[in-house]
């Protein structure tokens, strides 16, 4: 069972990918299948069930894209 959940406000993301470098379970990645309103690939998580809700990704995000919940 996942311990946490993250939500990405995709259209605010500038595609800098800093969040992908700090996830302890390596599930944060750039969604290269889509382009957001700014023309960037937004960050996302596909394997949400592995999320531990540590908020590292949100901590290093310069644009407040990520909201983190913990069960």
């Amino acid at each position: 069972m996942a311990k946490g959940k993250v939500k990405f406000n995709e259209d605010v993301c500038k595609g800098c990918a800093l969040c992908t470098t700090v996830c302890p379970v390596n599930i944060v990645t750039m969604d290269t299948s889509k382009i957001n309103i700014k023309g960037f690939h937004p960050a996302t998580v596909f394997e949400m069930d592995k999320c531990i809700g540590c908020a590292n990704c949100a901590t290093i995000c310069p644009d407040y894209v990520i909201t983190v919940e913990r069960f």
Binding site: T21, V22, I60, P62, E69
Partner: protein
């Protein structure tokens, strides 16, 4: 299901103009969260400089002033002297503070002005396109140091926190970095302590925050964090240089 991380009310809804991966955004968040957590947002007046954060007055959710280049500490002094009970801060870059505004920052420290300065050091002029700053490292290239800064031509980079820590009026001086979640959390602690120092009227407080500039460093945001860790931190050591007596 509890929200453990969300955008702070200390920031407005306006999306920032900063380049992708620029860590100004993180530093804004830390200041805004601290103001929200200290419950002083409605009592705070901030001063934005000229530089990349020139538009910061649109991002902080409190009364703001725009200052001319280098003069934010003097503007903040004027505000604090009119509203001694309010929380007043200046948010400045290294071109703004360590170059044109050196006299102003030295003298708010010298006066022990009860304001807080957030000093963002990314070792370059960002807004104007990458010129050399007093904090640019030896050998680091900039548009006005095309072959890299040399000691012979323009001396060694300025360590502002160490300089200010020699001034008694500077009650709290700490250098932090936002290159990793762990350091970001430490940075927030220092920023909170700096504002608390002001609220406790102990004197001037400043936090120097090592920050990245992917665009003008000419490397990716991810590599910028690495470059900061490998180059800035060794020259600008992290840690507290001064805190009020009696405080751990």
């Amino acid at each position: 299901m509890a929200i453990v991380f969300q955008k702070t009310k200390g920031l407005t809804d306006k999306e920032t103009h900063y380049c992708p991966g620029c860590t100004h955004g993180i530093i804004h968040r830390l200041v805004a969260e601290v103001l929200e957590e200290l419950d002083v947002l409605g009592e705070t007046i901030g001063v934005a400089p000229v530089g990349c954060s020139v538009l910061a007055y649109d991002y902080f959710n409190c009364d703001m002033h725009e200052a001319s280049h280098g003069r934010a500490p003097a503007v903040a002094t004027g505000i604090k002297r009119v509203h001694p009970d309010k929380v007043v801060f200046s948010y400045q870059g290294d071109g703004d503070l360590a170059s044109i505004g050196t006299a102003e920052i030295v003298h708010v420290a010298h006066r022990g002005e009860k304001i807080t300065t957030i000093f963002v050091n990314n070792a370059i002029y960002g807004m104007t396109g990458g010129q050399m700053a007093p904090t640019t490292l030896i050998g680091q290239r900039a548009t006005t140091a095309p072959l890299g800064r040399t000691v012979e031509h323009s001396g060694r980079p300025l360590r502002v926190s160490e300089m200010l820590a020699t001034i008694d009026g500077a009650a709290f001086v700490e250098r932090v970095s936002v290159d990793s979640p762990a350091n970001i959390r430490k940075a927030k602690k220092a920023i909170k302590e700096a504002f608390q120092c002001q609220i406790d009227r102990k004197g001037f407080s400043i936090v120097e925050v090592l920050s990245t500039c992917p665009t003008n460093w000419g490397i990716t945001p991810i590599d910028s964090l690495k470059w900061l860790q490998d180059n800035l931190i060794p020259y600008y050591p992290l840690g507290n240089l001064r805190r009020p007596e009696g405080v751990k």
